[in-house]
Amino acid sequence: MPDVNKYRDKFPQKNPDGTNIIDLESHKFIKVWQGPNHPGITGNMSLELILQGDEVMSCKTHVGYLHRGFEKLMERRKFIQCFPICVRVAVPEPDFNEYCLSATFEELAGIQIPEAAEWMRTLLLEMARLGSFLMWIGGQAGTFGQGIIGQWTIYARDLVLDRFEEISGGRIYHMHMTPGGVRGLTPEGFKGRMEETLKTIEDIMKDIKSTMFNNAVFKKRSVGLGYIDPSWVDPYGITGPNARAAGIAKDVRKDYPYLKYNELDFDVIVGKNSDAFTRADLRRQEILLSIDLIRQIMAKMPKSGEYMAKMPNVLHWKIPKGETYIRSECTRGEYGYYTVTDGSGYPRRINVRGPSYTHAVALMEKLAIDCNIADTAGLMVSLHTYPPEIER
């Protein structure tokens, strides 16, 4: 048996600034491409890893496998034609795109949406958060070898999608928030079915707590993995649960309340240890918070009333010249749309600020170093990234 530690002492050698000296010609390193087919089940992107043994010495992120040019496509579409496109920017939770896009158009056009539509949008956003986190938690468990959790949570997510289907007629791309309001309020008997769904999810979450979070394997692999120092939060533009797990109480819902969030009672959840386990546990608590918020929204939202503002003819709708940025708190952090209009019937520029851009590219390159190759997928998922929103 070769003495592995002999080499480990020798390689990698360090630069004065602490970075690894990597010389591929030395044959002591191996370059591995992780992805684009499997970078940890978060979509199509690729990690160019240089390993020494099974440890990552260097990580370079590569995107571009999923570029469909949504932002550019929207510049060639009438304003009303944009909302079916924007949903594709973040497939598991399209509603934040619908909201931000519609809200920018409404702000620039000076349209005030009816109150029932605001409540409806708040409900849809929380449901989207719930559904998205449920999908994520299955992914996180899966990357650490716990396939069963994903089966449970996909079932739970399907129940949320059933509710989406009832409201909007679509399971994945809901397209329920159109510029001017929403396409309808909740159908008859929805509240009862929603409550039933929430109870089922609560039960599943209890099981997940005992099988995933109280689990020696999961703890062994996730505690201490991918530590994010609180001092990195601002320089790296880290938002959402990744920042909150580092103890920084950043939440757009609280900091810049939009829609009806200032009428809802909730506290921002923060963690301490800022590792993959803390982030996972924080997201588990976020699921419970979302359930609570949905209950509050269902209790407070009006049962009837106007849900669509009076719109000009959307076929030749022109929005006055202007620019605006609308943000919302999605599952991964601050989600924003920067929209510029030039007075024509088409948006001049739409820029999607997705949190995955900051988390999956620069941050991942930093966190992957010295991590075990078996943990890179888990690390990536713990940052909760969706490549489509990196590439837009």
């Binding site: 007629g169 791309y173 669509m308 719109m311 076929l315």
Partner: protein
């Protein structure tokens, strides 16, 4: 890490005792009632406006002809074909559909090995989900455009019942742009308009506040925008796609808005008619009505030397002598005519062809003649008593009034007729009664019941506002005369006006009678033409002048248009005046 962390995961085994949550027969799963599944289209409701094609951001919809669907007024004859290789099921097509004919079923399973079949025409290509009731429909109170017309301000009945000031105030710029914004640019109106005016184009110009462009579009097909902008029969509005979910677009008022915005002095510059090259050919026009004016305008644009002979002392024809000034002020007629005159068209008034000058003379002096002499003869009911001196023809009274002659208005009047002329004379006489007696005692009675009355609905409403009593569905039987004075009109109930084949064949219930007291009766049941000046011209079976597609009559140099060929209405006259001008051009350049 604790022992609990090792043992706790084994709790997952408890699921062994639970029933599986997966759907056993996923193909039988029913989608939600609002599910955005496969498209359905109600072929009868759909008008082929193509708005779905316009809004589809994937270009998944094409409008295609469909076997069994004919093109007709208000229906393009096309139907949407959807390509499921492109469709993203966003349902914008359903939301925007002007007739609510396009919907989605909640069905979502369709398996076929041939990719071509996924491009189909919903409703025409029969599918298993065609009769599915569930699925996405346009939500109530959810509109992507304004379905309500911008209301037009008009004089209050109390301010207008004695005067002849124009009732309609016209749109402001803001109102016009707001109204023009409602247009979905389907163009269904173009086919229906007799003149095929570029309606969506001039409405677009209104939206862009480009009045010069708008005027250019108007004059491409219609040289009388001030007249048509006020009194056009607006067939376009009756087929407007917007009327299916709300109010039709105010196309007529928008046309008026355009013409009102531009000063007549600018017309030549805007329309590029400052310098017209003239040829050496001459065309005579008989009658300065809409047909004659239209022919004169387009002929002069083509370089012909045009001279118009008019029997009365002013131009406009029936639009001046048949339409009261509260609907069409005379200065607006003058504005349209003055522009035509400024192009070099010569007008000779008080010259009745056939009396003051004969047609043969015109043939000698001119290369071609266009006759649009109009329907200036009244038609009598020929009932007993209709030959009484206080029984008048509406058309005569309207002409006399326009010419400033005294009308012997009586305290109680009955008007027979349900068309716009009947409304015109009723409202004119009501004003005169109001001026003379301070009250209105005027009954308008028509064969037609109110729902099929040929008069415009706004005429009926406004007449009532001006205290005209409307008695619909009565057939006149006799004008009652006592001591040589008219005392009233006997009527019987009219059960139906047309037979099953749509021919005029009124049926009466002679047992249901009524009597309308009156000192004066006015007949307004239609007009006849005086074409004695065209002696040898061939007529159709319906006693209209026979013309070909170029409005050329059986006499090659004689072209005929206006009410004596089609209509009666101004826009048809304008249209056939335009076509006749092209026909004359073709004839003279053979």
């Amino acid at each position: 890490m604790s022992v609990k962390d090792v043992l706790s995961p084994f709790l997952a085994w408890k699921n062994l005792l639970k029933d599986p949550v997966s759907i056993k027969k996923p193909l039988e799963r029913q989608a939600a009632p609002r599910y955005r599944g496969f498209h359905q289209n109600d072929m009868e409701k759909c008008i082929g406006c193509g708005t779905c094609e316009e809004i589809c951001m994937n270009a998944a919809i094409d409008m295609v002809p469909v076997v069994g669907i004919e093109t007709k007024n208000g229906d393009s004859g096309l139907r949407p074909q959807i390509d499921y290789g492109r469709c993203c099921w966003c349902a914008l097509c359903v939301d925007i559909c002007t007739t609510n004919s396009l919907t989605m079923s909640n069905q979502f399973q369709w398996i076929d090995s041939d990719p071509e079949v996924f491009r189909f025409v919903p409703g025409a290509d029969k599918k298993y989900w065609d009769d599915e009731k569930l699925g996405y429909k346009k939500p109530l109170n959810y509109e992507l455009y304004n379905t309500e017309r911008v209301s037009m301000e008009e004089l209050h009945p109390e301010d207008r019942d004695k005067s002849f000031i124009e009732i309609i105030k016209g749109y402001s710029k803001k109102q016009a742009i707001q109204e023009a914004d409602r247009c979905v640019e389907c163009g269904i109106c173009i086919a229906t308009c007799p003149a095929h005016m570029g309606i969506p184009s001039y409405i677009e110009a209104v939206r862009k506040d480009n009045m010069e462009e708008a005027l250019r579009v108007l004059y491409e097909t219609n040289p009388l925008p001030e007249i048509c902008g006020r009194v056009c029969t607006h067939n376009c509005e009756s087929v407007c796609a917007m009327q299916h979910k709300g109010d039709a677009l105010s196309i007529r008022w928008l046309k008026r808005y355009i013409a009102d915005q531009v000063h007549s002095e600018k017309y030549k510059k805007i329309l590029g008619t400052e310098k017209l090259e003239k040829n050496d050919k001459k065309v005579a026009i008989v009658g300065a009505g809409p047909a004659g004016l239209s022919a004169a305008y387009y002929l002069s644009l083509l370089g012909y030397n045009v001279k118009v002979y008019e029997a009365f002392d002013k131009p406009g024809g029936m639009t001046r002598y048949g339409i009261p000034e509260y609907r069409l002020p005379y200065d607006q007629i003058d504005k349209d005519v003055n522009y035509i005159e400024s192009l070099g068209v010569e007008f000779q008034y008080n010259t009745k062809v056939g009396e003051d000058i004969n047609l043969e003379k015109l043939h000698e002096d001119f290369d071609a003649v266009f006759a649009g002499s109009g329907l200036h003869l009244g038609r009598s009911t020929r009932i007993k008593g209709s030959d009484h001196e206080k029984c008048y023809q509406a058309i005569d009274l309207l002409r006399d009034f326009t010419q400033g002659k005294e009308i012997d208005v009586q305290e109680k009047i009955v008007v027979i007729g349900g068309g716009n002329v009947a409304m015109d004379i009723a409202r004119t006489l009501a004003r005169l009664q109001n001026q003379k007696f301070g009250k209105v005692q005027l009954t308008l009675t028509s064969l037609e019941s109110e729902n099929i009355m040929p008069a415009d609905i706004e005429e009926i409403i406004e007449s009532r506002e001006e205290n005209v009593t409307i008695e619909a569905a009565w057939g006149p039987k006799e004008i009652k005369i006592k001591e040589n004075q008219i005392v009233g009109l006997n009527v019987v109930k009219c059960l139906s006006v047309f037979d099953d084949e749509g021919r005029f064949n009124p049926q009466f219930n002679n047992n249901q009678k009524k009597f309308f007291g009156a000192d004066m009766v006015v007949e307004a049941i239609g007009q006849g033409m005086d074409i004695d000046f065209m002696k040898d011209v061939e007529l159709t079976q319906r006693h209209k002048v026979k013309v070909d597609d170029n409005f050329q009559s059986s006499i090659p140099w004689l072209f005929v248009g206006g009410d004596i060929v089609a209509g009666p209405d101004a826009i048809s006259a304008i249209a056939n005046g335009h076509k006749a001008a092209k026909g004359i051009d073709k004839f003279l350049n053979k």
